[in-house]
């Protein structure tokens, strides 16, 4: 029966059980409510049907009843809210040890890039049991990356990064859909996610991997080619801020604001360098808008993230106010 009338998507991530439990709870609440109201309506319609000589009994209303059927549903709703919020917090908080993959969406294609430099189109191979974080952006319109079996979905926006994370728990191939309408071939912007045993995943990664460079190395190469390294020096302070160790920290800006150095800030600083100038530096960096593709940007971001601070420079960098 269920083979022909499927009602349950595959459960293949750590979220799936919790999301489905909340769903079942809500289905039960709904059934109870619906049966109560339906039964009451039908019963009243039958028992109190209009009969000659029998008048309706006038009833004004009842404050106690009004309060009861406001407060009880409200309490139930707050339970649902809390439960949903708890799941959401988890879905939106990628663990620190996540493997970071990148996705660039365009009409009508998904491009994925593994940290090791492996690239895929409309297909994403991931190891089972690892926390995977996908950092995504779009080259054109809004898309949305959706894995029903993993119960996760996140819109992918042009001009900024959004993220999504999961931990797949079952080996197999599952749907990958674009869930935000994106134009003519929206329903063809689909693919699959392949969850593999970690060992097989390693094999897959290495298969045909002769001479492939990792994302970080690609970024590093680009960093030199584009001339970034002439100002952003790795050992001494150049005309631009030193980048080692800044990722994830708070940065003091020229106008006194603080900004967290995240993927979006790095991206913005490459494309729109004058938007947020680090305190103590001149707005001399040219824009790279139109000169780097989204995929190249992704590798640059990955490279900047990979730069760890030496012990000797950490102090100077952590308090940017001192840098002159």
């Amino acid at each position: 029966m269920l083979k022909y009338f499927p009602i349950w998507p595959d459960q293949a991530s750590t979220f799936a059980g919790n999301v489905d439990a909340l769903y079942v709870f809500l289905v039960l609440v709904s059934v109870v409510m619906f049966v109560l109201i339906g039964a009451a309506a039908i019963t009243f319609a039958v028992i109190y049907r209009r009969r000659p000589g029998v008048e309706a009994t006038p009833i004004e209303g009842s404050t106690i009843l009004e309060l009861t059927w406001s407060i009880i549903p409200f309490i139930v709703m707050m339970i649902i809210f809390g439960w949903g919020a708890a799941i959401f917090f988890e879905e939106r908080t990628p663990p620190r040890d996540s493997v970071e993959m990148y996705a660039v969406a365009k009409q009508w294609m998904w491009k994925f890039e593994h940290p090791e430099g492996q690239r895929e189109i409309n297909e994403l191979h991931v190891p089972m049991g690892r926390n995977i974080k996908i950092i995504m952006t779009s080259q054109d319109v809004i898309h949305s990356l959706y894995f029903p079996a993993l119960r996760v979905k996140q819109d992918v926006l042009p001009g900024r990064y959004t993220t999504l994370w999961f931990n797949a728990t079952k080996v197999g191939e599952y749907h990958l859909f674009c869930a935000e309408y994106c134009g003519t071939q929206h329903s063809n912007m689909i693919g699959k996610i392949v969850v593999m045993q970690p060992a097989e995943y390693e094999l897959w990664l290495n298969g045909g991997n002769n001479g492939r460079t990792s994302l970080v190395s690609t970024g590093q190469k680009l960093f030199t080619e584009l001339g970034c390294s002439t100002c952003h020096k790795s050992d001494v302070q150049g005309r631009g801020p030193m980048l080692a160790g800044v990722f994830g920290k708070q940065q003091l800006l020229q106008d006194g604001r603080l900004v967290k150095v995240d993927e979006d800030y790095v991206r913005e600083s490459i494309l729109n360098p004058q938007a947020k100038i680090v305190s103590g530096f001149q707005p001399i960096m040219p824009t790279f808008q139109g000169q780097v593709t989204e995929e190249q940007l992704v590798s640059l971001v990955a490279y900047v993230k990979s730069l760890k601070a030496d012990a000797s420079t950490t102090t100077a960098q952590a308090t940017p106010g001192q840098v002159k």
Binding site: V29, R49, F89, C182
Partner: protein, 540 residues
């Protein structure tokens, strides 16, 4: 006083038969009928698109239509149904006809603006049909940028202008109702004596007046971006696509209440009349309408939980969304309780009302699924959402509307619809509706995204059921068109108050005279006072 006394036996229908007497009329009742014809027209245009969608989705492959044709079909289905049917349908037809009658006024406060509203609607409708003739629009009814502002190669500007103009029609209708309800009530018609239908229209009008201008300017900015390169939503200029979504949903979420509140007003009237009782908890039901209108303005971003808003914003909007759930629940409970110890007759309108209760309850409860953020991440943008809003907007609004049309049909035309066919259509509609949309909850939870032209084969069985249901539903909607048309000529003449209802609208003749009441009534009783008023005299 103002017009020459109409000859005895004359009513608003017989007062002039020339084309001009209809097209230049300032009589709210005639304008209501103009709207009735035009929204019905657009309903069936939108319905044809719905059938095309269902036919295409019968099989997983895209075999009936091309991908871009399909996209245009669902876009036009949405735009026509939302802006040209659901938003105007109850206020502009039944509200227009009944609000002045129910409060004992001779007309709306601004009859000429009322006529202007209809003309704006028609101009907007013609522009929409023109858009259609030029090949339609493929942005989805939501016009999300930058797809709509930069990437779509279709006539987005024309469609946006059509909806902009239609917005003014809606604004003027709302403005007219608010002023009328404030300033034109008959002596003794206090706020606490207003029929709940009028309360619901008041709440709706507030939303129309406050919300519509925002979507109007938003769509205009999209048009500016396409025409004049003013890149307010252009990501290349630092424009934020989420700003568009915020502005759009600031109107378009409350717009859901523009659609459903007037239908809720109808349900209150129907259940009171056919239970022969005052509505249980009159003030709770009245205030819940206002509550929905106010809170409805604070929840728009629950359409955007996965759009890229912050976790904290999502939490707040999820939390507030549950506050809209409470007044909606209050209404459902009070309607059910009204039937308790009543004297219930299951006429066609009452069957529609009970059908509304069932469908709206499902629509409301599935709203709880979508408001639970962690679960919404999975089901948003899937068919679960499609099913949910059809339960509210079609199951709710259309059931209420059809119930109302049947209930007031003898008032509007002076003739009765055929009861047997009425009941049959109501039940067919209920069954067909559930068959069409219930499978969509399941296929949505399975993960079928909305707006898909092709889909994975395992989704097919539910889509086949849905398409089968849609044909039943179509019959359920076509039948009233036929027998109501038939009854215009052959329907039984049933006198002024066939239901023995107590609203002021039943105290004038059916059809009412042009001036509504020969003398302005003085109200000395509470609303729905079935206890004391057994048989209302047609005195006015």
């Amino acid at each position: 006083m103002a017009t020459a006394a109409a000859p005895a036996g004359s009513n608003y229908l017989t007062n002039g038969s020339s084309v001009a007497s209809w097209l230049l009329t300032k009589d709210h009742k005639r304008i209501a009928l103009l709207y009735l014809l035009s929204v019905t027209f657009f309903f069936f245009i939108g319905g044809v698109f719905a059938l095309l969608i269902r036919l295409e989705l019968l099989t997983p492959q895209g075999d009936l239509l091309q991908a871009d044709t399909y996209n245009k079909v669902f876009t036009m289905h949405g735009q026509i149904m939302v802006f040209f049917f659901l938003i105007p349908v109850v206020p502009a037809v039944l509200g227009n006809f009944l609000v002045p009658l129910m409060i004992g006024a001779k007309d709306l406060a601004f009859p000429r603006i009322n006529l202007l509203s209809w003309y704006l609607y028609i101009v907007a409708g013609i522009l929409m049909l023109w858009t259609l003739a030029l090949g339609g629009v493929d942005t989805g009814w939501t016009f999300y940028t930058p797809l709509s502002s930069q990437f779509s190669r279709t006539n987005v500007v024309l469609a946006a202008v059509a909806i902009f103009i239609n917005g003014f029609s809606s604004i003027f209708t709302g403005l007219n109702f608010i002023v009328t309800i404030h300033r034109m009530r008959a002596p003794g018609m206090t706020w606490s004596r207003l029929p709940l239908f009028v309360w619901a229209h008041y709440a709706t009008s507030v939303i129309m007046v406050l919300g519509t201008p925002v979507v109007a300017i938003t769509l205009l900015l999209v048009a500016f971006e396409r025409l004049l390169h003013l890149g307010i939503f252009d990501p290349a200029l630092g424009g934020d696509p989420l700003l568009f979504q915020h502005l759009f949903w600031f109107y378009s979420h409350p717009a859901v209440y523009i659609m459903i509140l007037p239908s809720m007003g109808i349900i209150s009237e129907l259940i009171a009349c056919f239970s022969r009782k005052r509505i249980f908890g009159y003030s709770a039901v009245a205030l819940s309408s206002i509550g929905i209108a106010v809170i409805g303005f604070l929840v728009w971003a629950h359409h955007m939980f996965v759009a890229g808003i912050s976790v904290y914003a999502a939490l707040v909007f999820s939390f507030l969304t549950y506050f809209v759930g409470v007044p909606s629940a209050i209404k459902v409970f009070n309607w059910t309780a009204t039937m308790y110890k009543g004297a219930v007759t299951l006429t066609t309108p009452m069957i529609y009302a009970i059908g509304f209760l069932g469908l709206f309850t499902i629509g409301g409860l599935t709203g709880l699924f979508l408001a639970a953020i962690g679960l919404d991440v999975h089901v948003t943008d899937t068919y679960f959402v499609v099913a949910h809003f059809h339960y509210v907007m079609v199951g709710g609004v259309v059931m209420g509307y059809l119930g109302g049309i049947h209930f007031w049909w003898p008032k509007i035309t002076g003739r009765m619809y055929p009861e047997f066919w009425g009941k049959l259509a109501a039940m067919l509609g209920f069954v067909g509706f559930n068959l069409t949309f219930f499978p969509q909850f399941i296929v949505g939870y399975l993960g079928m995204p909305r707006r898909y032209w092709m889909y994975a084969p395992e989704f097919q069985v539910w889509n086949v059921l849905s398409t089968a249901g849609a044909t039943v539903l179509a019959v359920g909607y076509l039948m009233p068109l036929i027998y109501l048309g038939w009854s215009l000529r052959y329907g039984e003449k049933v006198g002024d108050n066939p239901w023995g209802a107590v609203g002021l609208e039943w105290m004038t003749s059916s059809p009412p005279p042009t001036e509504n009441f020969l003398e302005i009534p003085v109200v000395t009783w509470e609303a729905y006072d079935y206890e004391h008023i057994k048989e209302v005299p047609v005195v006015y």
